[in-house]
């Protein structure tokens, strides 16, 4: 079927209360309302979620691969920024 290409949407699913929405993939839809419904059908058909976000892919500004060194490498040798010197108490979840 020769339908014109519809806009791309990025889909975020919250799997249960208390957790963040996590990016799960993308899909095509003519508008936001249909994107939300398509997301329901494509990404939550096995009870994966309790909440959905759809975002126009064009609304996302992404870091570029060429800038990767300047963006991320300076953090590599600054281990004092990591909370690795603390003992995690027992029974703490989601850390």
């Amino acid at each position: 079927m020769s339908t014109p290409r519809e806009p791309l949407w990025e889909v975020f699913v919250r799997s249960r209360r208390g957790l963040n929405h996590v990016h799960v993939g993308s899909l095509h839809a003519p508008d936001a309302a249909m994107a939300l419904r398509n997301a329901r059908d494509v990404y939550t058909r096995r009870q994966e979620g309790v909440s959905l976000w759809v975002v126009p892919a064009t609304a996302i500004t992404a870091s570029s691969p060429e800038e990767r060194d300047a963006f991320f490498d300076p953090a590599a040798d600054k281990i004092y920024r990591h909370p690795t010197f603390y003992d995690v108490p027992e029974g703490v979840e989601h850390l």
Binding site: M1, T3, H28, P30, A33, M34, R37, N38, V42, R45
Partner: protein, 259 residues
């Protein structure tokens, strides 16, 4: 130890009523399955498959229930695969081909609107199994209705071509709507006993809701003469036999096959 008989005398009218609702769902599911791999995009492919599977689930529960009510040892598979055309009790609306997307959405809009009103009322049925199936199915058909409505609105209020094709689809489906409200093949005692919902009582709410969507989509409610009913009595169009031939072929060629 003997198994207690908890089922009171069940009339064949009761069985036929449940079979009618089961066959509406089963035949619709089979027609919806045709769209798998043929929908305009992957997202719609999955949506239609989900809807078809919801309908199949409803059909399975209702067929199993009909088999138990009948009390002759037939299970859901026996009823789905080993009955012939004249024993199917579905309305003719659902058995005709729907290889046009507009027709598929027009029919889904009609079916889901009718089913949502029907299942809402059936939740108060004196048949506890029917009431339970209706409660579960209500959420499913609410989504089917939403899906169909979204498409009818967009196609109706879209381009000149989509508007014309959506109107043509409504015109094609509308003559078959009236059969949903026909009660000439229903035993009035079933309604009096609170088992069945009087089909005629659904006419006003269903037509009102359909009209609201159609007008919002800038389309017109077709004014057409209704087709003759008869599906509930086993009198079908030429299309059901072919559908059943495909649906039942594997089971009849290889009885008892499993995988």
């Amino acid at each position: 130890m003997t198994t207690p008989r908890i089922t009171p005398r069940t009339t064949s009218a009761h069985v036929d009523y449940v079979l009618g609702l089961a066959d509406d769902a089963l035949v619709s599911a089979q027609r919806m399955g045709w769209w798998i791999s043929r929908a305009p995009q992957l997202e719609e492919d999955l949506a239609l498959a989900n809807i078809g599977l919801d309908l199949l689930g409803q059909a399975r529960s209702l067929l199993s229930h009909a088999g138990r009510l009948e009390g002759e040892g037939r299970d859901e598979d026996d009823l789905a695969y080993w009955r012939d055309e004249r024993d199917f009790r579905n309305v003719k609306l659902v058995e005709r081909p729907q290889d046009d997307f507009g027709v598929a959405m027009a029919r889904l809009l009609v079916l889901s609107t009718w089913q949502s009103e029907l299942y809402a009322a059936l939740q108060r049925s004196s048949d506890p199994v029917l009431a339970a199936v209706a409660a579960k199915a209500s959420k499913e058909v609410a989504y089917h209705h939403d899906h169909a409505r979204q498409w009818v609105l967009r196609l109706g209020d879209g381009t000149d071509e989509s508007h014309a094709r959506m109107q043509a689809a409504l015109d094609a489906e509308w003559p078959w709507v009236a059969e949903l409200f026909d009660q000439s093949h229903l035993d009035p005692a079933l309604v009096a006993e609170g088992v069945a919902v009087a089909p005629e009582s659904l006419r006003e709410p269903v037509l009102r809701r359909l009209g609201d969507v159609v007008r919002e989509a800038t389309l017109e409610v077709p004014e057409v003469a209704p087709r003759v009913p008869g599906g509930r009595a086993g009198l079908h169009t030429e299309h059901l036999g072919r559908l059943l031939a495909e649906m039942q072929h594997l089971t009849r060629s290889h009885p008892g096959a499993t995988w």
